[in-house]
């Protein structure tokens, strides 16, 4: 480790964060696929203006 300079540490950090983000997305995707039926996940219809039937009401209106 004593041979590592700051930039090399930055490079290892970049690899590490990338791996974590990738793992998080994969895990969440698998969990979501298991938690919901395909029918629900694929229920989106093109160009629907009416949003009344959607789930997850706190996300209506885009408040962050």
């Amino acid at each position: 480790m004593e041979n590592l300079n700051n930039f090399q540490l930055l490079e290892y950090a970049a690899w590490g964060i990338s791996a974590l983000l990738g793992l998080w997305m994969l895990t969440d995707m698998i969990r979501t696929n298991r938690a919901h039926s395909e029918e629900t996940l694929l229920s989106s219809k093109e160009g629907e203006i009416e949003d009344s039937l959607v789930i997850d009401p706190p996300h209506q209106g885009g408040h962050l």
Partner: protein
């Protein structure tokens, strides 16, 4: 944040939360990196004046694109943008090809941006005195971080784009003001401009890179299913976007060609940053470096958004396997499409040379613009004004369509001059993909369900 569980019969769709500002950020965000780097290769092809002619000729091409796109997409308010337009107006085979043009144009551009960002960080490391620096960790981090952001929700993704794109644009305005263009204290255009060193052939060749000033503005249409008011927000965001780019492109050309000789400018990697260095002002150097990084990030971010929407739409209609048509119940994003395109972008960013990646992106874009000209001619013929409600009606029809076709033909020739082999190879790729779609995939398409617009029967059908 609470995870809600869907019960039987409930539906999930993309979230309608975006406004015109987000649409502007999506379009300009994808493109503005072209002002920070890339456009200047047009100077190398034909001199600084040729680059200015290419800038305005390409500006005309993209103004036509923006006007045509605004009219059609204010009517076809669906994710997938030009893919959805092609499906409704031309037919399934055209739609399949346009969908592929979109996915490849944006994924290649995303890869190119990630390569550039990795290179910039590596360069900074080298300048700071570190030996043996690598770009790959930062290329991968860029793609993974932005994919993560896109996965978690469109509102945060495009608000992030709005902030960093605005900063990158303001940086150009500040640099323009700082070089006092109304005096000849800093800029020396009279000494540096040298006419057309390669004549009009140089102007023609410069068209290839003239596209970089604007390539990607048409991506605003991909937000059609996520804006609160498609008929208002899409034309407003797209038209203000192209106006922003025309201003930024002309200012960029004026600053750079007044500061650098064309022999240097024609091969510079980061011309706007170099211009800031030539002013000798450290704050300007920092600002333009930040602008370069932000514009690259914004472009890659917008590309992930657009490529995933196009892929998602094709999956939803079963032009591709239907699994890609899924929406995340919590984040309301096309999560499988976003994740699927991550390794595709990584492979191109990791292994392909930058110029090949960009050329593939440009050619896919050109094919898309050619389609748009034919598309709007058919659209106006099949559904004349007054038969369906339009959020925007573009003026002087059919002149913009014919101007667009003429400029596309010129640019094909310009690309052919430098990258003829790639042009032919890509045509062969799309022909093979079309044969696969017609012979194998089309039988899976939801033929009736794919037409969702409440339009009357087209004239003559």
């Amino acid at each position: 944040m609470t995870q809600y569980t869907a019960v039987h019969g409930e539906k999930v769709s993309l979230l309608r939360v975006l406004g015109p500002g987000h649409v502007w950020a999506l379009g300009v965000g994808i493109v503005l990196v072209g002002e920070y780097m890339g456009w200047n290769f047009a100077v190398g092809k034909g001199g600084a004046l040729a680059a200015l002619i290419a800038c305005w000729a390409a500006g005309m091409l993209y103004t036509c694109v923006a006007m045509i796109d605004s009219e059609v997409t204010s009517t076809v308010a669906a994710a997938g943008g030009q893919y959805a337009q092609a499906k409704h107006i031309v037919g399934p085979l055209m739609a399949f090809n346009v969908g592929l043009f979109l996915v490849f144009a944006y994924t290649m551009l995303e890869a190119a941006n990630a390569i550039t960002l990795g290179y910039l960080v590596q360069t900074v490391g080298g300048m700071a005195g570190f030996a043996d620096t690598h770009d790959k960790p930062f290329i991968v981090l860029t793609i993974m971080f932005l994919a993560f952001l896109n996965y978690r929700g469109v509102y945060a993704t495009l608000t992030f784009n709005l902030v960093i794109t605005a900063i990158a644009f303001v940086a150009i305005l500040i640099l323009f003001a700082a070089v006092s263009p109304w005096t000849d204290n800093v800029l020396k255009p009279h000494e540096l401009l040298n006419g057309l060193p390669y004549g009009w052939l140089g102007v023609l060749a410069a068209m290839h890179f003239g596209m970089w000033y604007y390539l990607g503005i048409e991506g605003t249409t991909q937000a059609a299913e996520e804006v609160r008011s498609p008929a208002r927000a899409l034309p407003l965001g797209t038209m203000t976007g192209i106006i922003t780019l025309l201003i930024a492109a002309t200012m960029t050309w004026y600053i750079c060609s007044g500061l650098m000789p064309w022999e240097y400018l024609g091969q510079a990697v980061t011309p706007l940053f170099d211009a800031a260095r030539l002013t000798g002002s450290t704050p300007l150097m920092v600002l333009l470096f930040v602008g370069t990084i932000f514009s690259t990030l914004a472009s890659a971010n917008g590309c992930i958004n657009d490529a995933s929407r196009a892929w998602f739409s094709m999956g939803r209609d079963r032009y591709l396997p239907q699994v890609f048509g899924a929406v995340h119940p919590k984040y309301r994003t096309p999560f499988r499409s976003i994740v699927f395109l991550v390794p595709v972008a990584l492979v191109f960013a990791y292994f392909a040379p930058l110029d090949q990646v960009i050329t593939f992106s440009i050619l896919s874009g050109l094919l898309e613009y050619t389609f748009m000209a034919f598309n709007v001619l058919m659209f106006r013929k099949m559904w004349p004004l007054g038969t369906i409600k339009r959020g925007y009606v573009h003026p002087f029809h059919p002149l913009p369509a014919f101007v667009l076709l003429a400029l596309c033909a010129t640019t094909y020739f310009a690309v052919f001059l430098g990258y003829g082999t790639q042009l032919v190879a890509m045509m062969v790729f799309y022909i093979i993909a079309s044969v696969w779609f017609a012979g194998h995939r089309y039988k899976f398409v939801k033929r009736g369900a794919q037409f969702t617009m409440p339009w009357p029967r087209p004239v003559g059908h």
